[in-house]
Symmetry: D2
Subunit: 479 residues, 4 copies
Amino acid sequence: MDNNNIMNTADFDVLHEECGVFGAYDFDGEDVASTIYYGLFALQHRGQESCGIAVSDTNGPKGKVMSYKDMGLVNEVFNPENLEKLKGNIGVGHVRYSTAGSSVRENAQPLVLNYVKGTLGMAHNGNLLNAVELREELSYTGAIFQTTIDSEVIAYLIARERLKVGTVEEAVKNAMLKIKGAYSLVVMSPRKLIGARDPFGFKPLCIGKRDNTYFLSSETCALDTVGAEFVRDVLPGEVVTITSKGIESDTSLCQKNNARCIFEYIYFARPDSKIDGMGVYESRINAGRILAKTHPVDADLVVGVPESGNPAALGFSLESGIPYGNAFIKNNYVGRTFIKPKQAQRESSVKVKLNVLKEAVAGKRVVMIDDSIVRGTTSARIVSLLKNSGAKEVHVRISSPPFKHPCYFGTDIPSEDQLIATGKTVDEICKIIGADSLGYLEVDRLSEMICGGTGFCDACFTGNYPMDPPTRDIRGEMG
Amino acid sequence: MDNNNIMNTADFDVLHEECGVFGAYDFDGEDVASTIYYGLFALQHRGQESCGIAVSDTNGPKGKVMSYKDMGLVNEVFNPENLEKLKGNIGVGHVRYSTAGSSVRENAQPLVLNYVKGTLGMAHNGNLLNAVELREELSYTGAIFQTTIDSEVIAYLIARERLKVGTVEEAVKNAMLKIKGAYSLVVMSPRKLIGARDPFGFKPLCIGKRDNTYFLSSETCALDTVGAEFVRDVLPGEVVTITSKGIESDTSLCQKNNARCIFEYIYFARPDSKIDGMGVYESRINAGRILAKTHPVDADLVVGVPESGNPAALGFSLESGIPYGNAFIKNNYVGRTFIKPKQAQRESSVKVKLNVLKEAVAGKRVVMIDDSIVRGTTSARIVSLLKNSGAKEVHVRISSPPFKHPCYFGTDIPSEDQLIATGKTVDEICKIIGADSLGYLEVDRLSEMICGGTGFCDACFTGNYPMDPPTRDIRGEMG
Amino acid sequence: MDNNNIMNTADFDVLHEECGVFGAYDFDGEDVASTIYYGLFALQHRGQESCGIAVSDTNGPKGKVMSYKDMGLVNEVFNPENLEKLKGNIGVGHVRYSTAGSSVRENAQPLVLNYVKGTLGMAHNGNLLNAVELREELSYTGAIFQTTIDSEVIAYLIARERLKVGTVEEAVKNAMLKIKGAYSLVVMSPRKLIGARDPFGFKPLCIGKRDNTYFLSSETCALDTVGAEFVRDVLPGEVVTITSKGIESDTSLCQKNNARCIFEYIYFARPDSKIDGMGVYESRINAGRILAKTHPVDADLVVGVPESGNPAALGFSLESGIPYGNAFIKNNYVGRTFIKPKQAQRESSVKVKLNVLKEAVAGKRVVMIDDSIVRGTTSARIVSLLKNSGAKEVHVRISSPPFKHPCYFGTDIPSEDQLIATGKTVDEICKIIGADSLGYLEVDRLSEMICGGTGFCDACFTGNYPMDPPTRDIRGEMG
Amino acid sequence: MDNNNIMNTADFDVLHEECGVFGAYDFDGEDVASTIYYGLFALQHRGQESCGIAVSDTNGPKGKVMSYKDMGLVNEVFNPENLEKLKGNIGVGHVRYSTAGSSVRENAQPLVLNYVKGTLGMAHNGNLLNAVELREELSYTGAIFQTTIDSEVIAYLIARERLKVGTVEEAVKNAMLKIKGAYSLVVMSPRKLIGARDPFGFKPLCIGKRDNTYFLSSETCALDTVGAEFVRDVLPGEVVTITSKGIESDTSLCQKNNARCIFEYIYFARPDSKIDGMGVYESRINAGRILAKTHPVDADLVVGVPESGNPAALGFSLESGIPYGNAFIKNNYVGRTFIKPKQAQRESSVKVKLNVLKEAVAGKRVVMIDDSIVRGTTSARIVSLLKNSGAKEVHVRISSPPFKHPCYFGTDIPSEDQLIATGKTVDEICKIIGADSLGYLEVDRLSEMICGGTGFCDACFTGNYPMDPPTRDIRGEMG
């Protein structure tokens, strides 16, 4: 059970991705749970609250699924004993972060269920816009809901479509016609591993291969970890079906109009991943380079706020010629169960987590690069840490545009009234965080950042939602 | 996770009840979780594998249910922290034993769900005969199943009926028309606590009251524990609805033909409970008295196999005049996680659990009373313990008839080929267990045991099932 | 860590033994940890707070000891993994109850240490009277203490004596010359298993044998559990040394004047144990018989307060002819972590733990037998439970004399001002507990209870201490 | 208990520091446990196996110490409940890594004990050379040892000296005259906090202050974390005594000949610490600069092996003008309980922990900076990872000299036959790890690295031990 005194990661003033998915199918019949375990490790940054693995034996009695899931990190939930018991050569895994209200074990994924045609295991990354309506609609035909996760809604739709069509992949596709929003899905039926991505392609999903084992993964970094080769990305709108006959693809729902989440490049994805052909690390280097050109400054040192600010800082340095350095030491031992200092205590969470290398910054004009400013409180504290350590000037450069609008597609962001950029000028923000200057990456440079790529969603910066946002804020209800 | 070396209670050669249910509704608005906790303690003998509590605040926002459930004893699952978080003045609780296959956390009860009219919490004791058919039928209208427990089937039926009728209690009644088998149900809707018992009345269910709090409980002993007064039993086939307006009763499904489980009186229920007006302790005393009359023997001492054999032993002594005594010391510290001795070890599970008071039995002709013989192995070991301790003769008397037929109504019994009584005469069994004589309670004396009561199910002894048994053995699939 | 809301066993108004010891030496070289585990199970009633096992391989490198100990029941502390790691054919085990102040993991036994001659493992049952003085004395020669247990003092003395004499058993004997009080010791050196008992013989200790394995145990019941034969009791004042050459005995400290704890027979020991040749069960039957003669009463039913009151109740019934019966159902699932009801709650700890069989007692004149009355609160509640259940009269008979004086030898009893018998007449106590009559076993009948045995300590009843009690109350400091 | 399948940090081919110490004394009487908790976080890199905190109330009854310690990270061992119970305004804390043999809970620190003058709490970083002799000597005067840690030996010496002298600080100093080796000590007596450092000053220790609270800490980074100001380093050989009257210093054991561990600067200490006036980060930058001058190479990119190689890589880049970049992504979620891949599995521990940024290195000539090569296996794998990712050349530069000799002062290093540098030329090592060139920092440049500092121990590189090494290898026995 949670303890109120325990600080969870949400206390740090950062954005949260909500999920990572991973699937594996070994056609040689070997167990895949252990490999999925390592795959989930590589995706842990996408969700630290709960995790789970479900497996099935495609050569055994049809539809027996074994699963284990719980609150906690991959590291904490799985041990040699429970992993050993997950016997099966096909499986799906999931890591999850959730908004506070639905942080209960019942909501951990993968979702495992019996339906008319046997069993399904399902892992989902994203957020549906019409989940409330669909739940209501399904309720009126007698559905009951035991969780508050969107996956359950999708599962119902697949189950019902499956009554009408001949294959589970067709059912998946038909279900996709009813759901609106962001979703990358990995679905395991007794003999098939299916991957699907919403037609806008909000969330990433890719295919990998190692000998006779196929993989589906939110990010390519997990393929590297398990020693698999990257085959290709699943296309926005595509349904891929992996069976003993190979990979089948149904692209009938693909559309021209894509909306890949630009924040995957800026912050969410691991730098060693490639998403839809574009390297994440490279895009962050680019962001730094662009900032150096658009918001130049005379300074002695460029530093990144660890870890995510470092690549952009390097890019800024390469472009500007100002030396790159480290200004911060991050304490990696501050885990999920870290006890948060109380107000009255002299210690602060930021100081426990970050310390400044005084000798590196003292007397210098410092360019400090971060990926975003959310509430502004953390930025203010870090600027203050630098100044207290003797930095003569602190010039803040942010490798994304000001964050002004809610995301309805699976990113957990505070409400608009908590976002520092809402209704404030850059100058005002600069003053609030105590910086000597402040520069954001401009929205019209985002495409340049990803080497001219298009078809991304920048609604959190622009308010230009790729599909109509819900009339009421449904975030938090859906989890 | 389980450990194969750990002996669970199933290793002892005894029968298992599968569930206990408890519900509470405090019209003064006080939290009931703590009281349910104590109620579940009193019902722990009905299920030691998992337990759970779900509560709701009838004065709060409609339909917010908080629940906590896990594998383990009431003692192990709940602590002051998690109990404290269960805020609400209406609630249901459950203790569960299950057959091996479905011993997973997902199957712990109460089942909590959202449906068309809000939330339901449900706890169920019993076993449905047509669950497979109903699941199939429901699947063909798009239902998905996340557990393997019957409660989920019942919940679906209630949810679907609720679309057609005006109240949840009507929906419960209509659902009852579709399900066949044994079930005592406690259902919590946002503003109502509902109890229902199948028309045969296989499983017990009673109503209690303490000030402004009403209770539903599998057994009266739990009412005693929480300081409540017994109000009455729920009738077989009755649906009772407890609201702020009082108790409403719908008896339209009641029928003449009842089939109360006779084994509740013989073994399952706690001796301090009364079921349908008949005291359990008294019925066991009666069983001993009957045995003394029907299977008399010249002996020096009457002893019971603890704990369950003691009352019948006392009855045998009272009737026969042979002194009652204790022959065994039972080690109550042997809990769920006891490490089972390996074959090669000199220690045996029986010896760790039971020791003989040598001085009490040495040189004596002993009447040993037990409630039943299942596989016979434990009985053989206990007879042997007595003889090795110097008992001159051991006369075994069993306070129930030979157990020959499977139960489809919620009792976990081995398959027929493992039952010692199947296809063997009493003399053969006597030899196998090494006794000097053996006597069972005759079937035609069961009514006398419960003071002339009628309307009970004795199918496990007679094969006379009150409803057609399933054509294939569905035990184990259902859990 | 403890939780204040959790009721520990101390909350029940009973006396507590403080320890049980068990040792094993397998001359065939097999591991003994598993056997010690089962032996500790049988001794669990002597201490439920912490437990531990230490083992050594007499054929391996000299003096490598492996141990594991922790707070909790045998059941909770050991699992197949940690038990498996305890490799060695000689070992000692311990179960412990302690007074509140010293309930910390550091005080768990066995104590394992390195000293001038290698390693020692030591388990101790009892309490020293001069521990404070010895600690002080040892301190002045540079000793440091890492626990608050007496065993550490004894270990120092053995270590220091060992510098002067040729064998560890001699060192043990010499140490015994310095310590005053109650102690049964099991000591493991690299090649020897040593048992010792203080010259008064306060605490029991016996020897057992199974094939080529020798045992030392607080009680014979543990020998039965592991399938060993009882060899003999260790004599008061004797030091036995078990080596590959057999059992050697040094009786030079034996004295005529013994003081076996009479409470072992009345309450502490398991009924299936024999202590110094006298069966515990038999002595309790005797106590009941004596009460029937000395405090007869006209009644309909004799009942025992479970579990400990049952044998005496049986004895009372046998002697008086009044039928024996069960009046109470005890909930055996109430474990160490049971959450204690708060004052405001309607539930009480007694009611959760005990329920009355109303039908058994209603309208009857009941003789209720218990082993002792400590504070009186529990007795009062139980009498009240019986009366509320319809008992017409409740006559309380106690199978021991009134408990009036503190014990300095290892029994945890409340201070005199909390003992109901201090300064009150039997009539006054009878009124306080609400009984219709009250009778205690007279002090001068104690010898009759144990079949004419002599040489026991009855100081808690008489104040006649076998050795001068400490001038200040040192209980609690010693742990 | 440990699980053999679980990889512990020792599996990574790196060196281990053995301890970190932290002490606090709040003269305003506030509890210090929480502050020590945050201090230990900052020192976690010095020991990840066990940790503990002991506190005492200087205004309460003299000498009551409360402590809690266990195996695990600070994060895992402490929770709000157990931290809350540690009441006291003076305290010591400890983090520990140990060699395999003594990895048991009993060896966790601080050591808490009673001795002739009350209580002591003690935390120790280092390793004694004459611990075996001292143990033997102490044994011959009747000492018993319950742990295998050096602190117990030191405690005995202090306790015995205290009998002769008037203050505990004098006793500490006198004990220091008897012990040989490396030790930084924090000792808490009922009214004093004492810090001491061996005359060679092998291990760091510094003093901090925050309002009315004084601190002793292994590293300055922990002072930063708790918001304290650095006061000064404790001098090699100095004993500082902090009481309500201020800081007293006894420098009578100080000597000219110092031997600060050079590896603190190279690898052990956190980069944001200053040790004896020299910044750790700066020394690592310097090491990189020196390598660029002494082992220049024509290349496109300089990268560090995370985390420890990064500062030297930056220094190399600054000096050489070759661009600095990131080549690796380290998975920070790989914790203590990570399940190690089996031999047969395709995943490797290195790959799970490190991934290469292919786009950053492909086609490039890479300079890879690491702090040391121990066995060489990890270096070989990382070089191979870079080459497989397309690096055209990999030039390895090591920011320390070849590591050839055992350390007897508290660093856990493999035996000489496992050290790759023993008996091999640099060219041979280069071939083994598969690099295109290899350069080590020369021994005669170490002083330059720390800005001309002298008085350090470089025995692991040179074999020039500041005191005679033990005649037999006592590492592992001492723990």
